[in-house]
Assembly symmetry: D2
Homo-oligomer: 242 residues x 4
């Protein structure tokens, strides 16, 4: 059983009637409903909760954290960001969705200004092509996922070269985007997945949910031994040199 915590800033759904009508249970609620299964247990957390719902206890009991944010990245407390950061380095998986590319945690883990990309809201068609058909994150997906309407994100996306490139998107208006990328950070695995603008019902799409569920299984910790650091005694006898 993989323990997932879905974090959502949960503001659009409260402030915007259109978004509320699409996601009456919140974006986190839609994803939670879509992920719950025999192998995955889900809880949710939101910005307004104490400690944003991400207490030490909750994070220590989380295998994979999913992150959706957009309007209020700056309102996320630096201490909580640090806490999530340390948990990722210690093995917790992290899945960053859509506008979460500009979150403090993603920028901190990647080291580049990941908030920088091209964007446009124009009800465009997106076609998410599978680039690495060997990757478990693409399991069960055909050659591409097509979304009738989505926000456009275009290159250049200001990320480091990914460890693995799983998806690349085509957009109607003429742009491409690295839509599915993975990174290792310490013992933790990070997956960024592009789709999911708040004004579209993307998180009800069964293929999108399948990718997120695949991502959860891929990013779950590997029970790897934690490395040690610092001053170390030699393992072999060292020759004394004159």
């Amino acid at each position: 059983m993989i323990k997932v915590t879905i974090w959502n800033e949960f503001l659009h759904e409260i402030n915007n009637p259109i978004v509320a009508s699409i996601y009456p249970e919140g974006i986190h609620g839609a994803i939670a409903a879509g992920l719950n299964c025999d192998q995955i247990s889900v809880r949710t957390a939101t910005l307004a909760e104490p400690e944003h719902g991400l207490s030490e206890e909750t994070l220590n009991d989380t295998d994979v954290l999913i992150w959706w944010g957009h309007l209020a990245h700056d309102l996320v407390d630096d201490e909580i960001v640090e806490r999530v950061y340390n948990r990722v380095l210690a093995g917790m998986g992290l899945i960053v969705l859509h506008s979460g590319h500009a979150s403090k945690i993603f920028r901190k883990l990647l080291g580049t200004p990941t908030e920088q990309l091209k964007w446009r809201e124009a009800d465009e068609k997106e076609r998410i092509w599978v680039i690495d058909p060997s990757h478990p994150i693409a399991a069960g997906i055909g050659e591409y996922i097509e979304l009738e309407k989505e926000e456009m994100y275009g290159e250049h996306f200001h990320i480091p070269a990914p460890d693995q490139l799983v998806f690349v998107s085509w957009f109607e208006g003429g742009e491409v985007f690295r839509s599915g990328v993975t990174y290792s950070r310490g013992q933790g695995k990070v997956f960024y997945f592009r789709p999911g603008h708040e004004s579209y019902p993307t998180y009800y799409n069964q293929e999108i949910l399948r990718v997120i569920a695949n991502g959860v299984r891929w990013a779950a910790p590997s029970a790897t031994t934690a490395p040690s650091y610092g001053h170390s005694e030699p393992l072999e006898r060292i020759l004394v040199k004159s």
Copy 2:
């Protein structure tokens, strides 16, 4: 249940009494005994069998193929190599062990003369360091695996830059070696793992067996949809240009 076929050329164990005394059931037998568990079912195949034990039927029923060869790479039939090659591209995992680096299948999949490396048989200590502690292949392993006596393999190892570098070995005589490397090829995943010279009881080492079992789980197919190729109709309407 992951279905594993362990292929061994099975010559040293027959021709050399010392090797026979170490591996009375063959190297394949030792690995098979070490891998068998609730999640993994194992069968074996050897050079001398018809079709080297790798019939279409057997390969189609194999999730992960493990390969050990040394003396007789050239005796492996090109048609069987082609068959294994196509199965890997179609999703079968492949784990190549030790001197299997010079096998036809590894050379063909990697595109470089992977038979080229430095080597020495001198009962040296090897220390296999974990480089990527996020990788599932390193799960359950401490900071390193120490083998009291092994054959030395040294850089430069004539492989392409790996997709992921999991282990690097230190050798008593002064060399280093990329001991655990992974590659994707089509829908298939490939893991090369260095240790296992025939004159040492390496394949009884519980940590070595753990790595191989981890490799089996990592390399098992992902149920990804097979890509299609060739002439394609447009998905969007194309503007007629004058």
Copy 3:
């Protein structure tokens, strides 16, 4: 001064009047005219010449080989392919253009059936986006190169994960493609660049020529010492174990 040899099978330009009218000096001639400068000296070679124009002498005097082929990959002699292969491993740069993806040399160096991809001839617009703005191959190029009409190549392109992904193409008909990818093989560097169907004047485009010239400079040999391989004496004293 970097010594470049441009190899072209030179068949379309002879057999097809339309191609002949676009490339009266051959595709090799157009590229040669576009590359010649103070830093680069160019010679050409074609399929019909003895040894396809790629004698030992010529290859040993070549820093970077550019390859264009389409109709007659199978007519390229295996011995010449082996010769080119060995020169690449020894440090000669290789730039493979467009339909050269299906050449024997590219397939051999990469280890996958690189002839496999999607394609379509429909006078489509191609937009080649810069993905890695730090890469010298993209120097002097804006955010993208636009080609009014080109042949479409679409994913999945059956290549190994590239060492570096420099360009990704958008096509009018709805596909994307990894249009600029690099690999290291031994001491040699390999660059694949997608555009250049014979029925379009792509190799007169100044940005396309700039990318090829950048690629020449990037792929030129680095004067690196050749590695040695084989049995090696220890560099350190090895403890005798009981």
Copy 4:
């Protein structure tokens, strides 16, 4: 002509007579003397200077910045770190040496706690093996560089998987280390090179200086066009959907 600025915290050489006797002109002075040539012009900067010697004007006139620090990482002003960071993203090369792995700028660019590694001062032999013989940073180096006495750095080194792995070190005491690694960040290139503890005359070693000079040439900016970001008009007409 590549313009290099060598930054050194310049404290050991002032406070420690042994270090002063090895580097009477400072570590920056030794490297500057070793790099100066027809193609490279060098200036230096140190912690004690106003703005640490890294004014906007100086940085804007710098192609490649070399960084050595150890005792006083925390005394480097955050504003200067931000300035260097932005210059790297805009194309300035950065070479981080030895204990500079714990500098603010390296940690910020890489996104992991790069201060974490194993270490030991025990006059150990280090052997720096060339792993990628195609890489221009290894040009002119044999199979390895041997340093009679150096500080040991051992894995796990808490860095992201590098874009390119150029060197791996062997240490007498039994450890290995990824000694030469490269990264792209925006338009800038970053090279970390391990050797150079202040108590050894490493920066007079001609091979070490050769690698640093190679690194300078590799990391020099590529005249690439700066990407643009933010809201973008469509390049193609978007179908209005009902």
